[in-house]
């Protein structure tokens, strides 16, 4: 009899709920194909709700370490779990009217639940092993989700590209973990940190390991120059999945990055800090200027999310308690903003079914007059991207750049400001296009299937984005509480 590690089932209940839900759904669906869509919605949302309930119940409790110390459940983990689950719920709501969902809703939902489970694992992992497992769990499922729109070649293309490049990214990450293991003898963050703190950290194996781990994570967050997959995958994937990736994947990847550099690699800050700084600068500028020349709105926001990743990197670089709080707030706010924006694009795409139009700037001309609510919401989301008050984007930008300025990284804040100015340029192009009077029709468009779900998603995101800007106190408190579990270097 092999003695397995002790498992605190309560601590990992959210993931368990999701996995059980996923497989349960698949099982049920095989017996009740006729009710596939309803079943998917009910079971999917139910599993997510249970997961969220467990997380919320654990919110504020003392951290629990389980699974042979490889998994830690603290408020940061909970925050990620909750956010990711809400994102997934929004994806389900957004998929209601989608033809593919009617046919293959159970697979889609199950994969989505698995993604959430994987993300929860990543968020709480304190070991490269759990990190890798969680990462692959959600990545593999995401590859499929990206390619899920079987009728669209672009979707398949996106899935394949994501698979190839994502695998390289994972390989690089594990490769780096292997080197760190070689240098320190441990896969645990704590063990690595302790070993590095003792011994001199100038060993080239450590350097190599740090570099590769950083690269793997920078790939996941979509920072330059490891961003190449982002625009293509975001553009090709089903729009609700894109929204999920832009919001949830980014949040999780950053939490993983923050945990690793702050918990495992604090001793080699001199190695990762300059890399992150350079990556941040290049990413902010590059992402924004590339977005400036896009004509496809989905792709434009993809590029802008590259820029946003650069911005979030500032939070890690500064890594004071303010900076990390800002980072978490920024990412959480960004998740809802991105989800809302892509939800609007999804509405647009459904309106354009007959014209087979993508969400191009040209195609969107005058659309704002036909769908006033969605378009107005889009304006709010775009302004939140650009960091205008009174949106959550403003508070996020304010806190991140504020901490940068006060901790001696004013130049990064200024780079961020330049990026924001460029950003305004293209966000406004979208607004201008939507409210272009040269092609307008006062006739309201017919209600397309699933519009109710999309409207609900937009409303929820709108509420979060605006409340996060108008009464950000609570969200900031939560972010602060969560980020407190990130060790602060210095």
């Amino acid at each position: 009899m092999i003695q397995g590690p002790s498992v605190d089932w309560i601590a990992i209940a959210p993931e368990v709920a999701l996995i059980v839900g996923a497989f349960g759904l698949l099982l049920l669906a095989t017996f009740a194909r006729a009710y596939e869509r309803g079943l998917s919605i009910v079971v999917g949302l139910g599993a997510l709700a249970v997961s969220v309930a467990f997380s919320v119940a654990a919110w504020g409790n003392a951290p629990v370490v389980t699974m042979a110390d490889a998994f830690r459940v603290d408020d940061l983990t909970e925050l990620v779990r909750i956010t990711v689950a809400i994102m997934a719920a929004l994806v389900i709501l957004l998929s209601v009217g989608w033809a593919r969902f009617r046919e293959h809703g159970s697979e889609f939902t199950a994969l989505l639940l698995l993604v959430c489970a994987g993300m929860g694992v990543v968020a709480g992992s304190t070991s490269f092993v759990t990190l890798f497992v969680g990462l692959e769990l959600f990545s593999l499922s995401l590859y499929v989700l990206c390619a899920f729109d079987g009728k669209s070649r672009a979707s398949l293309e996106a899935g394949f590209k994501y698979l190839v490049l994502g695998t390289i990214g994972s390989i690089v990450l594990v490769y780096g973990a292997a080197f760190l293991y070689g240098a320190t003898g441990s896969f645990m963050y704590g063990g690595v940190a302790a070993s590095l703190a003792e011994g001199g950290s100038h060993d080239s194996i450590v350097t190599l390991g740090t570099a590769l781990v950083l690269i793997g994570l920078l790939f996941k967050v979509g920072a330059m120059p490891f961003h190449m997959w982002v625009p293509d995958v975001y553009e090709g994937a089903p729009t609700q999945v894109t929204g999920f990736m832009a919001g949830a994947t980014k949040l999780v990847a950053f939490v993983a990055l923050a945990r690793i550099v702050l918990e495992a690699l604090p001793a080699v800050e001199h190695l990762w800090s300059p890399v992150l700084i350079i990556a941040a600068v290049v990413t902010i500028i590059g992402g924004n200027i590339a977005a400036l020349v896009q004509t496809n709105v989905k792709r434009m926001i993809a590029w802008s999310s590259v820029g946003a990743a650069g911005y979030a990197l500032i939070g890690i670089i500064v890594n004071g308690s303010d900076g990390l709080r800002g980072l978490v707030f920024y990412l959480a706010a960004y998740a809802f903003t991105a989800m809302g924006a892509f939800a609007v694009i999804a509405v647009f795409e459904r309106d354009q079914v007959r014209e087979k139009g993508y969400a191009t700037l040209d195609g969107m001309r005058g659309w704002g007059f036909s769908r006033p609510f969605a378009a107005m919401a889009m304006v709010v989301f775009l302004l939140a991207f650009a960091g205008f008050p009174p949106t959550a984007g403003f508070i996020g930008k304010f806190v991140v750049s504020g901490t940068a300025v006060t901790h001696g990284y004013a130049y990064l804040a200024i780079i961020g400001a330049i990026g924001s100015v460029i950003g305004l340029g293209y966000y406004l192009r979208v607004i201008l296009s939507m409210y272009d009077r040269s092609r307008k029709s006062d006739v309201g468009l017919p209600a397309s299937p699933g519009l109710g779900g999309a409207t609900l998603v937009i409303l929820i995101c709108l509420a979060v984005v605006l409340l996060g800007g108008i009464v950000p106190g609570i969200l900031l408190d939560w972010s602060g509480q969560a980020s407190a579990f990130l060790a602060v270097v210095k």
């Binding site: 190839v164 350097t207 570099a211 950083l214 690269i215 120059p225 350079i278 200027i289 020349v293 340029g425």
Partner: protein, 638 residues
């Protein structure tokens, strides 16, 4: 008494408001009579106030009253203050009196113009502004009045706004006056910095404490304002052009009242100018040069109103000479008489023009004395007064100035004396050139065509236009009697208190001598004019032969002052503005940020996304290079 002054000030603005609000609802004639009535009441109030002032003992004749604080900031504060004393009273009477007559005249003059209500409202506005100017007890309010008369002058010169020439003239007048306003404003700033106050009483009390330099600079700046408003050298070019406006305006604003404000200003600020004797000398010089120059130019002008305009400039130059010699009373006295005879001449000219259906060129007139006998008679009184012939009013006042120059007995005084007498000769010539060419000699073909018809229908003009002329003729003829040398000295004793340092007062002998010389010189001028112009227009041949031609041409072009300003200010300004617009602002501030930065960023964006070509191998390559770069970077850094 002060209540009456307030009423006098308030009445015209009430008129403006009523006329503006009722507008077309008022019958045109009713509007005219309403405005005139207001002026009559104002005149009555002013007269009673003057009588009440006169009934006071001499030392109590300076009344200052503060209505409310107009503007304040820190320790700076100016109020709506009234200053009523002997000088103000004279000005008040002239403005309301002559103003009333001209209002009445305007009823007839504008009776066929559909916009006569607007005209009346503007006229009332002008009177209000002028009253504000003379009643103000501090420099800010003076400046307000100063600017508002400029504004009303602008509005009235450009009254016929579809005449481009009139609009151009109006703008010119306004801008030149704005230069003057700025001069006064800067003067006020300097005085405030030096003295900490802008009230007259404060300035006059503190004037003695100023150094000569300080006082001179302040006086020079005030002088800029005076020169601009009174159309004196070198800011005089607007006045002849201003004749594009309706004739009553020329009479009221550009003869009787507004243009004399410069004289009023200098007389008013005599305690300050007393500290700056060099500026006073400068005023005399400017006056002498100006009166000669204007007289010379008037010799060759052919527009009836322009001739009178240059004569106005010349006469105001006399007043400048008077106040420059510290003989403030004589300057103001000339101002007083000039208001009568010059308004008379303008109104008479207006009747002539009216009779000739708008013709203003004296070459197209001639022989009108038979057709327009009353006008001829009245204008003859005005012409004689203007030429300074004893015993008409102009003779007394002009000779008072010259006698003062004689009594000063300094080089400046002698320059003024001789220059003034030479000017008197010119005055005689150009005045009677006008009279002879309009009323004597053979009638021109144009007049022959027009006049019989015109006289048959209108007579010499409507009674509303004739009566003011009659009344002004009485003034022009007899106003001088207020100040018969050695006999009466109403004006001198009335105005004496306004100058704390006393005034230059010539003896009766000097005055009579000057009167004699002046009359002889004036008559000589008339004789020359008779010889040249009474029968035929012989002068042109005389002048256009030989070297005189160049001079004639120069005088016709008004000695090139307008061309000078056009080439030194107007064109460079337009050139500079166009240059800045086209070559500086557009490329440097409007083009660059937009196209430059925007295009550059977009260019970077496009070049940058070239590698994002969709081929997954390319992406992997970039990934690989990125890995290499990071590792290399970290290994090289150590």
């Amino acid at each position: 008494m002060t209540e009456l002054v307030w009423i006098t000030l308030a009445l015209p603005i009430v008129g403006v408001v009523v006329l503006a609000l009722l507008g077309m609802k008022l019958p045109a004639r009713g509007a005219g009579w309403f405005a005139s009535l207001i002026m009559l009441v104002a005149f009555g109030c002013a007269a009673i106030a003057t009588i009440l002032l006169a009934s006071r003992p001499e030392e109590e004749r300076q009344v200052v009253q503060v209505a409310w604080t107009w503007l304040s900031a820190g320790n700076f504060s100016v109020g709506l203050d009234l200053w009523f004393d002997e000088l103000t009273a004279v000005m008040l009477l002239i403005i309301t009196g002559v103003g009333f007559l001209i209002h009445v005249y305007s009823i007839g003059y504008m009776k066929d113009d559909p916009q006569s209500r607007r005209f009346m409202a503007y006229l009332n506005l002008f009177v209000f502004s002028m009253l504000l100017l003379v009643l103000s007890a501090n420099l800010v309010l003076l400046l307000a009045g100063w600017g508002l008369v400029g504004l009303s002058s602008y509005l009235l010169i450009g009254f016929w706004h579809n005449k481009p020439k009139a609009i151009k003239a109006a703008k010119k007048a306004f801008i030149m006056n704005a230069i003057g306003d700025v001069g006064i404003a800067i003067g006020a700033f300097l005085l405030f910095v030096d003295l900490g106050t802008l009230t007259y009483s404060g300035i006059f009390a503190g004037a003695a404490s100023l150094s000569e330099t300080q006082a001179s600079i302040a006086c020079l700046l005030l002088l800029v304002g005076a020169l601009a408003k009174s159309a004196q050298l070198p800011l005089h070019t607007w006045l002849p052009d201003a004749m594009e406006g309706p004739t009553p305006i020329s009479a009221l604003i550009h003869a009787a009242t507004m243009v004399t404000a410069g004289v009023y200003l200098i007389a008013r600020f005599n305690p300050l100018f007393h500290q700056a004797p060099k500026v006073l000398d400068l005023i005399v010089i400017i006056g002498v040069v100006g009166l000669l120059m204007a007289g010379l130019i008037a010799l060759v002008q052919t527009d009836i109103k322009r001739i009178i305009a240059f004569s106005t400039m010349s006469q105001i130059a006399y007043m400048f000479v008077g106040v420059g010699l510290m003989s403030y009373w004589s300057g103001v006295f000339h101002l007083f008489t000039h208001a009568f005879f010059k308004a008379l001449l303008f109104l008479g000219a207006g009747l002539v023009i009216h009779a000739l259906h708008g013709e203003q060129d004296i070459r197209n007139m001639g022989g009108l004395r038979k057709q327009l006998p009353k006008v001829y008679f009245c204008m003859m009184i005005g012409a004689l007064a203007l030429s300074g012939i004893f015993p008409f009013s102009g003779g007394f006042s002009k000779d008072a100035i010259l006698a003062s120059a004689l009594s000063v007995d300094t080089p400046i005084g002698w320059i003024a004396y001789i220059g003034g007498l030479a000017g008197a000769l010119l005055t005689g010539i150009y005045t009677f050139r006008l009279m002879f060419m309009v009323f004597h000699r053979r009638m021109s073909p144009y007049a022959e065509n027009v006049i019989p018809h015109s006289v048959k229908h209108h007579g010499e003009g409507p009674s509303t236009m004739l009566w003011p002329v009659y009344i002004l003729s009485i003034g022009a003829a007899f106003a001088g009697l207020l100040q018969i040398p050695g006999v009466t000295h109403v004006f001198l004793s009335w105005l004496e208190p306004i100058s704390p340092f006393g005034m230059v007062e010539p003896s009766a002998g000097q005055e009579w001598l000057t009167t004699l010389i002046g009359t002889v010189v004036g008559l000589t001028g008339i004789a020359i004019a008779y010889h040249l112009y009474a029968r035929e227009n012989t002068a042109p041949e005389l002048i256009r032969n030989g070297n005189a031609r160049l001079i004639h041409r120069a005088l016709e072009r008004r000695l090139y002052w307008d061309d000078l300003y056009e080439w030194t200010f107007e064109r460079p300004l337009q050139w500079a503005s166009s240059f800045l617009n086209r070559d500086v602002d557009s490329p440097a501030f409007r083009w660059a940020p937009l196209d430059g930065l925007g295009q550059l960023t977009a260019f970077f964006g496009r070049s940058f996304t070239v590698i994002e070509n969709g081929i997954v191998r390319m992406y992997a390559l970039v990934f690989a290079l990125g890995i290499g770069a990071v590792i290399l970077f970290l290994l090289v850094r150590g």
